[in-house]
Symmetry: C2
DNA sequence: AAAATAGTTTAGAACTGTTCTAAACTATTG
DNA sequence: CAATAGTTTAGAACAGTTCTAAACTATTTT
């Protein structure tokens, strides 16, 4: 077995390319945040949680940069923002069509695949507006 | 026509009884807020909007009281809270089972009667939790 | 390889919506 | 009419987020 086949020639090339493809320079901070967000499966995380996690791992990054990055990633379609309670935004690394269970006691947020919910017989949107997204939040207690 | 049949013997008796029935004293402030909220059809309003409206009508009431009142009314089931964006809570005078159109551009929030949406094939809630409510928000642009 | 440019990061101030505090006030009860 | 318990209030405090402008860095140009 050739050990080297697991050692990428260009480290983090995938994340770097992903950033370049949305016109964001792969800076040290963005790269580290992108790896925390995008290389660990589906996550629902707040800015402050992500900042804490970065600091815990020795990544020096300011909270302002975490906010900047989360918003840039969201605009670029790498993340989406989920609002389940006033005063706190969750950022979701799952950008596919899906919905959420939200446990109001624990604050846990879990995905429901889009295929497992159907919202039918919605009325027409008013006047000149069009549907941007349908969010279903199943609140648990 | 007897004019007096439109003049209640006990003014605002309905609102007063409603407050008493949920163990809230019918104070001047609560009564005024209850009338703004409950005698004007379905409304979706923030604390600051309601406070502004009260002040405009010459009702002297503090913002703290508006928040206290909105939360008390919500606990009592007279209102419900709708979260459509982080950092701002809407209070909804329609407590029946229904959903919402939310125009992200204008901030307008409109009801969709519960009968006009059906959410089917939801998966089981995780572990020992049970469904408190299902919120559908149709985001418009 | 330097220099120029444009994009990025940062600390800290500022801001927004909301909650807290504790003193003054008021509706209800005895 | 007191006594009591609930209510209101101004202002301070708080939490999450955004802003500012100066320092820094990735990329482009020469
Ligand atoms: Mn945002
Ligand atoms: Mn609340
Ligand atoms: Zn999700
Ligand atoms: Zn409503």
């Amino acid at each position: 077995m050739d050990e080297r086949e697991n050692v990428p020639q260009r480290p983090y090339a995938e994340v770097i390319d992903r950033l370049r493809s949305v016109d964001l320079r792969p800076t040290r901070q963005r790269l580290a945040l992108a790896r925390l967000l995008l290389e660990h499966g589906d996550r629902h995380i707040t800015a402050e949680q992500l900042h804490g996690e970065a600091i815990d791992r020795g990544i020096r990054v300011s909270l302002a940069t975490v906010y900047n990055t989360l918003h840039q990633f969201t605009s670029a379609g790498l993340l989406r923002e989920v609002v389940v309670e006033a005063g706190r935004s969750y950022f979701d690394t799952n950008t596919s069509d899906h919905h959420h269970f939200y446990n109001e006691t624990t604050g846990d947020l879990h995905d429901i695949p889009g295929s497992e919910v159907s919202v039918t017989s919605l009325p027409e949107p008013p006047d000149g507006s069009s549907v941007a997204r349908v969010d279903v939040i199943v609140r648990l207690k």
